[in-house]
């Protein structure tokens, strides 16, 4: 069907392998070929804090590596998606591209400007399509009420994504959830950031943001939050435990990555294929509702 260079990023392979394994399983199911590029490095999004130039060079190095193999990039992390897409946008300026290439030459690479970056959800939405997904569903998820969470860098800056999504009123994850028969539930803080990018600087800020969304979701009969970025995942799952302790709360909301939910609908093994046994907040109650 289609073929991509798999961009794992930093957090997924080292802390959330359940996301990686589920993406590999789902892609194999739909005939999307994923090529591993060992030389990929961090997308550069955090390096921008100290040096915009270093961040841009790191992003461009990754783009050039995929380009050299004639491949577009498939990302898992929302932030990697944003960082790489923003770099592509920036590199359209020839003067910037030339300056960056001059430095990349030192590591034997050149960026020409032929590569595209697509998040796994976008690939599922555009390359596979909602109708095809619907036809493949083997399990009944109709009892599941789930809260979608998009991830800021999946949506913004809007200019980097060719009008793929409407950041203030996003739809693709809602549609991907509906396609497998589960119910996406709207809620007031749908677009609230998980805070993941400020976590190294201030854990308190993140706890406040996480608590706000979890508080909004209580009493809404939500079975799980469904998201599409491992950093958002860690903020709402591992930080959920911290928030409970810190504020004396009893949140117990399962957090699931979309490819895992899709895998469940397609009949994948929850532990072996989707790593659902590795979750910080147990997902047993979600699994019980799927028949």
């Amino acid at each position: 069907m289609s073929k991509y260079a798999l961009f794992l990023g930093c957090t997924t392979p080292t802390q959330v392998p359940q996301y990686e394994v589920s993406v590999r399983w789902v892609c194999k199911y739909f005939g999307i070929e994923l090529i591993d590029i060992e030389d990929f490095i961090c997308c550069g999004i955090n390096q921008v804090n100290l040096s915009i130039e270093a961040g841009l060079l790191m992003a461009t190095m990754n783009l050039a590596l995929a380009e050299a193999k004639g491949l577009d990039i498939l990302t898992l992390c929302a932030a990697c998606t944003g960082a790489l897409a923003e770099a592509i946008e920036k590199l359209k300026d020839k003067a910037i591209k030339d300056r960056v290439n001059e430095k990349l030459r030192d590591i034997g690479l050149e960026y020409k400007g032929k590569v595209k970056v697509k998040h796994i959800s976008r690939v599922l939405y555009e390359d596979v399509g909602v109708e095809k997904i619907k036809r493949e569903v083997k399990k009944d998820l109709s009892d599941l009420r789930v809260a979608p969470h998009y991830g800021c860098h999946y949506l913004k800056p809007k200019s980097a994504f060719e009008g793929f999504e409407e950041p203030d009123n996003p739809k693709t994850l809602h549609r991907l959830i509906s396609a497998i028969g589960a119910q996406p539930v709207n809620y007031e803080t749908l677009n609230l950031c998980c805070g993941g990018k400020v976590f190294p600087v201030s854990e308190d800020l993140v706890h406040s943001l996480v608590q706000k969304k979890l508080d909004n979701l209580k009493n809404k009969r939500i079975d799980a939050m469904v998201l599409q970025c491992q950093t958002c995942y860690l903020m709402y799952s591992d930080r959920q435990k911290e928030v409970n302790k810190k504020y004396g709360k009893q949140y117990n909301l399962p957090i699931i990555l979309y490819p895992q939910l899709l895998g469940l609908a397609l009949g994948a093994d929850p532990a072996k294929n989707l790593g659902l046994n590795l979750h910080t907040v147990a997902v047993d109650k979600v699994l019980e509702k799927i028949t």
């Binding site: 990023g9 930093c10 957090t11 392979p13 080292t14 802390q15 392998p17 359940q18 990686e20 394994v21 590999r24 591993d36 060992e38 030389d39 990929f40 490095i41 961090c42 999004i45 955090n46 390096q47 921008v48 804090n49 100290l50 040096s51 915009i52 130039e53 270093a54 060079l57 790191m58 190095m61 932030a79 944003g82 430095k103 030192d106 590591i107 800021c152 860098h153 913004k156 800056p157 809007k158 950041p167 203030d168 677009n191 609230l192 950031c193 805070g195 993941g196 990018k197 400020v198 190294p200 600087v201 201030s202 800020l205 406040s208 943001l209 706000k212 072996k272 790593g275 590795l278």
Partner: protein, 170 residues
């Protein structure tokens, strides 16, 4: 933040142009201080002292030292809401990055970002991998990770990002 009044005679009149000269921050010149950035900022909502409008205004006034030494310029969650709604198309996220780069050169960067840069130079990514996750990857039949930082290290050296010292380094 900044409870003590700063006399206008202490303003650095060149600061504004120093910031807006950077292509990533040039849009700031168009800011008319409406505060839409702040109204939509999730960090401002949970921590009102973090105030993008105030920071933008301080840059324009020339409050160089107060801005660059402020811990709050590092509080952005990078959600891009500010630029998404800005009527003047100011990319405040990018403006902040320019400010952070300037602050970093002057020794105000928090140590977390310095440590991440050091890590990237070792493994190519911002983390190393703990043994338990190496085992989990094997159990899940995932490929082993190369984690080679040589090329990343070169990039960091090329941009002098390795020369930056943290505010809490001494």
């Amino acid at each position: 933040m900044f409870k003590q009044p700063v006399s206008s005679s202490d303003f650095d009149r060149n600061f504004r142009s120093e910031v807006t000269e950077h292509p990533d921050a040039s849009g700031l010149s168009a800011c008319f201080s409406c505060g839409t950035c702040t109204a939509g900022c999730p960090i401002h909502e949970v921590f009102p002292e973090y105030n993008p409008r105030k920071l933008a205004k301080m840059v324009k006034l020339g409050m160089r030292k107060q801005v660059l030494s402020s811990p709050y310029i590092w509080y952005c969650a990078t959600c891009h809401n500010c630029e998404q709604h800005c009527p003047q198309n100011v990319k405040f996220f990018n403006v902040l990055n320019v400010l952070k780069n300037m602050a970093a050169k002057e020794g105000y960067a928090p140590s977390c970002w310095i440590k991440q840069t050091e890590q990237v130079a070792k493994t190519g990514i911002v983390f190393s991998i703990e043994e338990k996750w190496v085992k989990k990857r094997e159990e899940l039949s995932l490929p082993s990770l190369k984690l080679d930082g040589k090329k990343a290290k070169k990039i960091i050296e090329l941009t002098c990002a390795d020369k930056i010292k943290a505010r809490d380094s001494e």
